[in-house]
Symmetry: C2
């Protein structure tokens, strides 16, 4: 039965940005879903393992998840105010990482790249308010 997992996945899809397991749990409960925290964690892990959601770590060590549109390799441009996230491709970065790695004799190169900023709406609000 993947009903719960689907429900978690759906909840995640309704969000613009990255959400923590606790967030997802709270939101599902708010919407009347009958689900336990443990199950949310398990569903999230399962989805992450299957590559159906992306995971990253907040500065304070919390794992946050996001259901991304593309299932191909990509990176994220995240607004540090509202969390709005844009998926970006970066062929240049991929090549750079490979080059840097082999240059120093490293093999099996992987990399993590995340870009943070303040999105236009948030910077407008900041100016206005």
């Amino acid at each position: 039965m993947t009903t719960r997992r689907d429900a978690v996945h759906d909840t995640l899809r309704q969000s613009e940005g990255f959400r923590s397991a606790q967030d997802v749990y709270a939101e599902m409960r708010l919407h009347g879903a009958k689900i336990g925290l443990t199950t949310v964690y398990r569903a999230l892990q399962a989805l992450a393992d299957k590559g159906q959601v992306d995971v990253l770590r907040t500065d304070d060590g919390e794992s946050v998840y996001r259901a991304c549109a593309t299932d191909t390799h990509h990176h994220h441009l995240v607004c540090r105010q509202c969390g709005r996230t844009v998926e970006v491709a970066g062929p240049a970065v991929e090549r750079w990482a490979e080059a840097v790695g082999s240059e120093h004799g490293f093999t099996e190169i992987t990399h993590t790249v995340e870009v943070f900023g303040t999105c236009s709406s948030c910077s407008t609000q900041a100016r206005t308010g």
Copy 2:
């Protein structure tokens, strides 16, 4: 009294790669240092705030620290076997991050970039052993 902080900094400098607070603490105790875990955490935070050590998060959420040679902005190429770390500059990546950000109307762009791989010694050992 920055004696403790210096001691922590020194311990970090003697390490090739990134070390966790607990690692640093254990190492210092091994070498006979009389210091508490709390102080190690505080020293590490202070050093990180001052930009004298670099911090990053392990996959399992642990904070790891490293005393880097350059105090200018740089990234890391980390061996996922032995932890050996090479500091790398990446002007191309800096430009790319800026471009991606402004392209989507984001301002105050920052980024995190880490490259992981298997270093030559470790891959040799893997073949040999």
